[in-house]
Amino acid sequence: MVTLTDRLDYTSSMINNQAYCLAVEELLGVEPPPRAKYLRTQTAELQRIASHLIAVGFFVQELGAFGTPLMYSFRSRERILDLFEMLCGARVTVSYMRPGGVFADAPRDFWPALDRFLEDFEGELAEIEQLLLENEILMVRTRGVSPIPAEVAINCSVSGPVLRASGINWDWRKQEPYDAYDQVEFDVPIGSNGDNYDRFCERMQEVHQSLRIVRQCIAQIEPGPVRLDLPLVLRPEAGREAYGRVEASKGELAFYLVSDGGISPYRCKIRSPSLINLTIIEHLLVGWKLADMIVSLGSIDINMGEVDR
């Protein structure tokens, strides 16, 4: 099952793994060891950076800035994928996390590589921000375009950066801390108008917060086991159900699992942020220019693998 979750939103497979594992752990009533929690938090935040870089890169690409900004984002994302390869041998479909922990501890070479990445990324991020944040064309095309008022966003069940860009301070990592999120400090950036520009800036600011979390994880992590000794085939008690929820890069991702005591879930419903964030699309498009259509769609950052699941 964990391998299937990689394919949902293939730009943030680590976070998908995490949501599913949390749901299974809730079913079984177990908790992973502390080191596994930190490893999960840290890789999930690296994945969030990679996913936001893609979102921002394609958003700008859709505005007509072909190639350059996208390649800037991909350059940094590539480094993150290299780190994932060191952790689990895969770059995109990672399947790194398991119910009860993670697949394996990080190899010795991983930590210096992570430090090098963090050091270089500082400059790379500054470069991307310098290029885009106050870019005149980008601002003219996106400021004030397709704003989402807070009430509309809530009523449409929108979540994640799109909800926060509309000025609502809501992040599941803060509201219901899972894994090691209660051990680290970070801020929840929020926007004011909820227009396309705010959604873009929201993601850029979240990247900074993710970096903060990764640094704290490195400082706090301690040696220890990384996986509980669970049987290979898990049989949660019949009739139990769980709602495992995380703040994914695109919004609230949840697995609603119902067990019948067998080896596979009786029902596994995926609450995917991409599908439900699309509800807002009518509000985003009606009354606005045709030329802004693709840009507005890019600003909610959907992933088709997760829309049709």
Binding site: V152, N155, Q175, E176, A254, R267
Partner: protein
């Protein structure tokens, strides 16, 4: 600072006071409401200031062969609480449940998905069409007796 979980007993008490007859059964965790009154329950839970569930997290349908359970997960962003209510629908054919589209717009695609894959129709939904499969597809593939 996790969210407060509103228990089934608490929810059933409130619903019995405001909408007599809407609750079918309840236990400590969840309450089952009359399927025909789902939208009334939804509207009450959204508008009543002590509950204030403005955010619909998800609607799921679970097929237990003799019946279907519809599961509604709710969150209140102001009260910092969460709740679950369910509705049990018996039978296999011609199932109808009132839509909560008018209460939470976020139900739009989720109700269409349930119709498409589980075959429960939502009355009052303005666009009750299949969402993933094409019109003319026969059957509802997530049912346990499909194929």
């Amino acid at each position: 600072m996790a969210l407060r979980e509103v228990s089934g007993i608490e929810l059933a008490d409130a619903l019995n006071g405001a909408l007599p007859g809407a609750v079918q059964v309840f236990d400590e965790e969840v309450v089952w409401v009359q399927p025909s009154r789902v939208n009334a329950v939804a509207e009450y839970l959204r508008d009543d200031p002590s509950h204030d569930f403005q955010f619909l997290n998800s609607i799921s349908a679970v097929d237990y062969v003799e019946y279907f359970d519809l599961v509604y997960h709710l969150t209140s962003l102001r009260q910092l609480s969460k709740a679950v209510f369910k509705a049990r629908v018996y039978g296999r054919d011609d199932l109808n449940v009132p839509s909560v589209y008018g209460v939470w717009r976020g139900a739009d695609f989720q109700e269409r998905e349930i119709w498409d894959l589980m075959g429960i129709r939502f009355t009052g939904h303005p666009n009750m069409k299949r969402i993933m499969l094409w019109e003319g597809f026969e059957g509802h593939p997530l049912r346990k007796d499909f194929l």
